[in-house]
Symmetry: C2
Subunit: 588 residues, 2 copies
């Protein structure tokens, strides 16, 4: 059966020993009161909640699914009670702004809690995750009035949030959306249109849902520059903050999906619903982009969390399940067979999972750190660097975490053999739940285009060179790790060469970016994980004990058995666009 | 929505133009009456059945699932009627022995029909596939009496077959099974025990089910050499072939699974059931191995079939769905956006699917050819070569087809974006249905061990050298394909070097085989697909028209964008066992 314990020791290792979080936090005003002691207390409390309340509802939630009946969505048994506990303990506002009742915790800290949440119950995790995203857009772009009315009850968890972007005919290409917003003359707008794939668009967890809706004004310019963002409450809010009448927004149906079945994915019909403008007219996409780096990193964590719970379950099974003998002779002579963890190929699967999860966890902390610096630093130069790094690394994190997350859940399922395919064992649900993370919040193909086009080619590789310089300076600091240093150096050289190649190709071939994007992102992600593994390995130098020995062995596996994949990605990037474009559409 | 047309043109290309099937068939007595004209007629008839009867039941079968009630299993609506049509048209006995009412078609032909079956409805396909496997074991090892009684009604489809191997505590390690067989003194045996994961162990498609059951005699030696094979009918058969009383075998429950939900996966309880020995006592595993090469190839085809239906659906969607503009400027200026097939990254996904499917289809024909030669050749030397090739190539086919099949279905789902995750579109079912093929009929890890250990290291690489010599002699025949020839040569050299390395390592390191196995199999599979793609490319030389142009473009994509993966697999094999074994179990 599946099992899960929050990886507290590893989280502490990453934050404290690898990234020296205390030093960073004390250096910035916004986080000066945060330290590892507080962080550990939060993680322990969070672990109790995730292990004790949310993980036990994961399988049953998958079996029961959300139910739809005439506009009403009912979440599976236990979700409402668990959500009440979650909200009452203040978790919804963990990263929220302190001026509106949030707890102001840095992203570098909250990514660790988010990973636990996704690991224990991805469907459940999405309700507060969407709320946090909506709060962030509102906080950054909303009027003071809107913020004072809506943020406190959202941080308290009394009200949830949803993000309404996609329409039946447009997902990636939001410029062609049809939802209309007509000014009513009193400062509010009439919103009319249909949105699909709205996570948490309707549910029974709490008393109100605040929809953030993209729509077009009557006179809006065509394309993405004609989109505005509106706040549309499910239930209207009176001046005193109490709830009023139902607004004209209604859930038309919910999707039946491959996974995340306890997360309500809604069709939302806005039929002249009252909405309030967030930010400026026609600047809705910009307002959305603010929260996107946070949301994309968060969705990436879904891949790590599901990889982690799958790994823990597979490890336990491999230690317990006996089948055949070790190649080197019986290790369990008193029993009919040996535990399957003796077999090299089972170890290959487990170590691959682990190398992805722990490499990803460190990279999440690293990206979280840059987000915190970008937000909190007083040093203009450092802030600028941090913003460039966030922009560069976020698409890598989202796509690479979730691609490797799917791989990890598939490997964990494989360790269970036939039992992995049977629902009651729980391993196949992790695969189904992980699969969506590669698709939503911008497909991983879109992440790759964003990285290759906007984040690399558009600035001639300048942001990439920031990253390269940082890795190079770290490589120079390492001693006693010659083999790993030279392996990472080689991968970094390939990534550099690939960067230069695409930057130069893109000037003459408009298909160069799209042709390279996906393999380039993989090459980047793998190199970045190499950087993380070297950082971790360095942090274990001079340390003793099982934890450090396991970490060193996993690093060794990563460098020798996973990093060589860089050669394949490099060759694919360097093949250019010709193999993709030299075939007319009708020959497919 | 998902769509499917049997790939008749490509099947014809592979059999007729690449492998010159007519020449082979006319050269052997057993197949002397088979020719491409007959084959095409069979494929057209088969396509009609698959497209018109079976594919329309695929989605509904997934939604309805098999139902269990007190020992009785009910298949989804329409399955019984479709099965009746299927059986009445003689499809069950397509590859059956002509002396018992089968149609005696060669494997090289039937693999193509099997692929269609899995593509249109994998759950349905498994009922006749298991019957065919049971028939083959019975045919090869059963007494004349048993064969005359059981084979004709099984070939007719009036009775089905099942293979009962796995028990709750043993799957891979059959040596530790507990099911007992006690001689009754009248030539029959009392069979008692529980078998799990029995595909088609119980259902309502026809009137009887013939179980082939592995069990141990009271005085059997321990381990795999103490296992015997028995035929256990669900309903006893009278001397005149009519049905008698129920036998003491009963379905205890069915599994709730990730996919293939319309295929009944049964727990079977044998409670002193009457069984008949097939072959010799304690030689049951050998009797099983006979059918295994056929069954493993067949299960491999599940990966190709599902990859194909996923590709066809994704291609249609990519031509139809409009979203954003082509990087080189609008191709659809009258509409709001361009079809997504203009995007290089969408093409990457489609071409990857296609390269896997078509490479796999050719490889299936190739392995089928060796199976036919091994069975039908009069030339002792050729027969011996063929047997070695079958043994070598079968685990590659099973594992590589199904691993790449899963990849292909995931890519096809990704092309659909969010719609790919929604059940009604059908794309996510292909992923769920494909996943089992990597697990059952020997997990792909077991296939890799079989390849690396028994088929390569055990004979010091001799079988591999047969394969290498064949590829090398083909390379020497190619002209005008210098770039592809040199790329394939390089992959073949890596595979040779990897072979030599593991053969030599295995002499001193007992973990060497398991450590290399999975990456070695991937390197082998990729190189074998390279061989197939070069064969196909050669067959297109001098040809004109869309079909050949599309084939050439896909070959180009394969060589430039997929074959470079060989570098990563090679590096992983050459890393040896240390990164896997240098960590005690308790450090995981």
């Amino acid at each position: 059966m599946a099992e899960y314990k929050a990886p507290l020791r590893d989280i502490q290792f990453v934050l404290d020993e690898v990234f020296k979080a205390d030093e960073l936090w004390s250096s910035m005003a916004a986080t000066s009161e945060v330290n590892m002691e507080l962080a550990n207390a939060i993680f322990e409390e969070g672990a109790r909640l995730c292990e004790g309340e949310l993980f036990p509802l994961n399988r049953s939630g998958d079996e029961e699914e959300c139910q739809y009946n005439d506009g009403v969505v009912t979440t599976p048994s236990g979700f409402k009670e668990a959500y009440a506990t979650y909200a009452e303990s203040g978790w919804v506002g963990l990263s929220g702004d302190v001026n509106y009742g949030g707890q102001g915790m840095p992203k570098m800290l909250t990514v660790m809690f988010e990973e636990m949440l996704y690991a224990s119950n991805t469907s459940f995790a999405l309700y507060p995750a969407l709320t946090a995203g909506a709060c962030l857009s509102l906080l950054t772009h909303g009027s003071e009035d809107l913020k004072q009315t809506y943020l406190p009850p959202m941080y308290e968890g009394r009200w949830s949030g949803s993000m309404c972007l996609t329409e039946p005919h447009c997902g990636t290409d939001l410029g062609i959306m049809k939802t209309k917003a007509v000014p009513k003359g009193d400062g509010s707008y009439d919103i009319t249109g249909t949105k699909i794939f709205i996570t948490g668009g309707e549910h029974d967890l709490n008393e109100n849902i605040i929809h953030l809706v993209l729509a077009k004004l009557p006179d809006a310019p065509a394309g993405p520059k004609g989109i505005s963002l509106f706040l549309v409450p499910k239930i209207m809010v009176n001046d005193d903050g109490s709830l009023g009448d139902r607004n004209a927004v209604r859930c038309g149906s919910i999707e039946h999906k491959m996974g995340i079945k306890a997360s309500a994915t809604c069709v939302m019909n806005f039929d002249g619903a009252t909405g309030y403008l967030i930010g400026e007219e026609n600047r809705g996409l910009a307002a959305m982009f603010t929260m996107m780096n946070y949301e994309r990193l968060s969705i990436g964590l879904q891949g790590i969390g599901l990889g982690e719970v799958s790994y823990q379950s597979a490890r336990a099974y491999a230690l317990d399940r006996i089948q055949s003998r070790a190649p080197t002779g019986a290790v369990n002579p008193d029993q009919a067979a040996d535990p399957i963890i003796v077999h090299p190929d089972v170890r290959r699967m487990l170590l691959t999972q682990r190398a992805y999860n722990e490499g990803g966890r460190a990279f999440a902390a690293y990206v979280g750190m840059w987000l915190d610096v970008a937000k909190g630093s007083d040093d203009a130069e450092q802030k600028k660097t941090a913003e460039a790094m966030v922009a560069l690394l976020t698409p890598v994190a989202k796509a690479y975490f979730t691609d490797r997350g799917l791989d990890a859940t598939i490997l964990g399922q494989q360790v269970f053999g036939g039992h992995g395919y049977v629902r009651e064992w729980g391993m196949e649900q992790f695969v189904r739940d992980a699969r969506i993370a590669q698709i939503y919040e911008g497909t991983n193909g879109i992440q790759a285009l964003d990285l290759m086009g906007r984040k690399v080619v558009a600035n001639g590789g300048e942001s990439f060179r920031l990253f390269r310089a940082e890795v190079e300076s770290f490589l120079a600091e390492c001693s006693g790790l010659d083999e790993e240093v030279s392996m990472l150096k080689r991968a970094l050289e390939q990534l550099s060469e690939a960067t230069d190649y695409v930057v130069s190709q893109a000037a003459e071939d408009r298909n160069a970016i799209g042709a390279a994007s996906c393999d380039y992102l993989n090459l980047f992600g793998l190199t970045a994980y190499g950087y993380m593994w070297l950082k971790m390995l360095k942090a274990t130098q001079g340390q003793e004990g099982d934890f450090y020995a396991g970490k060193q062995a996993t690093a060794n596996f990563f460098f020798k058995r996973l990093l060589p994949e860089s050669q394949a990605y490099f060759a694919k990037v360097m093949a250019g666009s010709e193999p993709l474009m030299n075939i007319p559409a009708e020959h497919f």
